[in-house]
Symmetry: C2
Subunit: 471 residues, 2 copies
């Protein structure tokens, strides 16, 4: 169990093997297989500073059986397979460092069943979260995980994503009941039954959630749904410091207030949001909050939070149950990522994603802010503070090698700081290519060996999204 990582990744396939695989796939898929440079580049990383590494071809299957066909052809020729959802991932997950075939599931975007009584639904992987919620709207249920971007559900599952309301509804790990997965040998595997819980063997569902396409291709998902709350209240609360924000968040959660969202914005991020969304919020650290429940319940929660905020010098807490006002505030939060560009037009972003135990959050953010100041980087902060997860948006001129170097060094220090506090290098974005180098420090050799042994066991040829996570 201690083979080096390189042994797990095959070499780049020979050009003839790629040609043969593409010929075989073209015979099956016709013009649903595309090799134009533009389309191939669109199917590699386009979101962040990570290099664009296009696949050799892109195929658009319409059924699970077609995905099986693609994987079987690629396996026969030892050609890599890279699953592709909406392309919104941030760590180079969709890049093809060894070439290969990108499987774009955009045409597998149907809702197959909604079981409102069971609070679950069965869907194809290409549907996005907004499209799913639009579909569900009239049935009194919704899918709560909200990473901001309108990602595909297959991709969200593959990266174990979460977002602003994970503090109440959990992450993708908590909201997937079962998956259908095309394995590396082209078999169709079902990971679990639709029962709400089970103790029937190894948890294959959770093994696939977060495996980023390295163990198989997700072709069908059974997801948990939540009832649309009777009432929602939301609001914003200014604080004198990030430390006060964090302490108020800890107290809120410890008090058992079932807050649905509790988001930190630092002063710089508030300034960016003001500029982008034409608001006039006080430019001070701030919590954005949302409460879900009954009319009486959300009032009680909102009032209790207001009292807690006051204990830490925060407030006034302005909250409302009026949808249009809530939407206006939360739109500002959702546009936080875009708003950053107003701080430095033309810059590219290097996103960060550490997560620490909540008791260490204030300290981790404070040290990080000092580091930003010393590094002369523009980098506003947003945080899913109820989970101890925060993001910096490093605004970088990627044509300036000194800036890129400084930003990378800053990110290294940030990850080291989080690991020293018993945190993780990625709370929700995933490993992809960008975080592989931190896994040994985070997990230690025995755990990394176990991950590699699992990868070898389930993908002995090493064709499933090579160059990601452990291989």
């Amino acid at each position: 169990m201690s083979a080096p990582a390189e042994a797990l990744s095959p070499p780049r396939p020979a050009p003839n093997a790629v040609k043969a695989a593409i010929a075989a796939l073209t015979a099956k898929f016709g013009n649903r297989l595309v090799t134009s440079r533009a389309v191939r580049e669109q199917h590699a990383n386009t979101v962040t500073w990570i290099e664009n590494q296009p696949p050799d071809a892109v195929v658009f299957p319409q059924t699970a059986a077609e995905v099986q066909d693609i994987v079987r052809v690629c396996a026969a020729h030892n050609v890599p397979v890279i699953p592709f959802g909406a392309g919104s991932s941030l760590e180079g997950h969709v890049n093809a460092p060894l070439g290969g075939v990108s499987i774009d599931v955009r045409d597998m975007n149907k809702v197959l069943a909604v079981h409102a009584e069971d609070l679950d639904c069965v869907i194809e992987p290409g549907i996005t979260r907004k499209a799913l919620n639009e579909y569900l709207r009239d049935q009194g249920v919704f899918f709560p995980i909200d990473p901001g971007a309108d990602a595909s559900l297959g991709g969200m599952t593959a990266t174990r994503c979460s977002g602003t309301n994970a503090v109440r509804y959990g992450t993708m790990k908590d909201n997937v009941l079962s998956l259908k997965v095309v394995t590396a040998s082209g078999e169709l595997m079902t990971t679990a039954r639709r029962a709400k819980k089970s103790s029937a063997g190894y948890d294959l569902t959770r093994l696939i959630v977060g495996s980023e396409g390295t163990l198989g291709v997700i072709v069908e998902l059974t997801l948990k749904l939540a009832g649309i709350p009777e009432a929602i209240s939301g609001g914003i609360c200014p604080f004198p410091s990030v430390d006060a924000c964090c302490k108020a968040a800890i107290q809120t959660i410890q008090s058992g207030i079932p807050v649905a969202r509790i988001e930190l914005l630092d002063a710089l991020q508030v300034r960016a949001v003001n500029q982008y969304s034409k608001l006039s919020l006080r430019e001070t650290p701030m919590l954005f909050l949302e409460f879900h429940g009954t009319e009486a319940g959300v009032s009680e929660q909102s009032e209790r939070f207001g009292e807690i905020a006051g204990e830490f010098g925060g407030g006034p807490f302005e909250w409302t149950t009026r949808p249009e006002e809530r939407t206006r505030l939360w739109e500002a939060r959702h546009n936080a990522a875009f708003s950053c560009f107003t701080l430095r037009p033309g810059a590219k972003i290097i996103p960060t994603d550490v997560c620490v135990p909540i008791s260490r959050l204030a300290e981790c953010v404070a040290e990080t802010q000092a580091d930003i100041a010393a590094s002369n980087i523009i980098a506003p902060i947003v945080g899913h503070v109820g989970d101890g997860n925060f993001h910096l948006t490093l605004l970088i001129d990627t044509d300036n090698p000194d800036e890129v170097k400084a930003a990378k060094a800053f990110n290294e220090r940030l990850v080291e700081r989080a690991l020293a506090m018993d945190g993780t290098c990625t709370g929700e974005h995933g490993v992809g290519q960008g975080k592989m180098k931190y896994l040994l420090a985070e997990h230690g050799a025995p755990a990394l060996d176990a991950m590699r042994a699992i990868k070898r066991a389930l993908d002995p040829q090493g064709i499933m999204n090579p160059g990601k996570i452990v291989a």
Copy 2:
């Protein structure tokens, strides 16, 4: 990936190998290694009708390093290792069908840290849930998972157990943040950081939860805790039928009422509880409920439930926030298993554990009750109705082969019925020896192949609790 199951289990080790391992362990552990027949038999299955298969020796380690020593000695001699917690498992998990060394972690029962701000704690595997909650009592937090029995937390994790309040707090899968595990080669593996969430690679934590000692020995656990609710209300509600109970439960959950416990007892189970706990409940199907929240919140929840019950012909719903009254009612529920013996003194029990989507629960219970009646078996029902999970307690004279045969056949039909409804053969008890035969029908060949490949990858010698789950 299609080796037969037998290939995964080694043959029973040669007597000399066992002797050599025991000699090496005796040199290290002295009188903390025991080979007396009585102690060995206590460390095999003693709870149900499954045969008692004692190990060759029992060792009582005090540290993770000692567990590593034991596993290394056993690995060197190809001798099986069987982890042992409180011995309350129901499917023969602690049996030693090939002999070997039972690792009893009763002396590893310390609380290593409580992080109240983070709502987590770090513990050793041998502490029981009652002892842990006793320890936590003054800190405003508790560990919510409650399987009834005072099981060890290591064992609860190994079987992915849940129990009466999983409907609100989830199962062990949802409440373990990280584990330290001694691997099959004797390494000490840490599965995750203490951060509340992470996307850093394969979910080893969830892979170990529910793996029943077949992939490693759990030697340390970081568990999520919940804040002790400000108020608790509870009560019981009679219904005209099991169907009405199930429909009221569905409506309650769909309405978003965050019920903490919602337990079904059928009329026969109510009779048993009346006899055992000296109560005079109406002998009709009944729901036992508990609500956690603020004073205002639990009142609102209780009243809303009362209204829902009325819609389905149930009620009156008598509820109280007075602890002594709640305790009296819930003691009756907790004593349900023991109370069954009043229905047939001297009988042994065959427990069942299917779980189906909640929309199918009423139908599944109704068909099962008809089957009980036709089979002439005494078998009261309790159900974690919010999760679609229910148990029958088959009261059997195990000296009567006809009865045993009839009970086994009944259980087969029950599992088939649940699987046909997209359910599982085990909601919370685990696979052990008793449920292995159902895994192919439940999961299909590709998933079972994947489980076997993982088993082989992480335990190539097949020494970790052989004869359970897939090997």
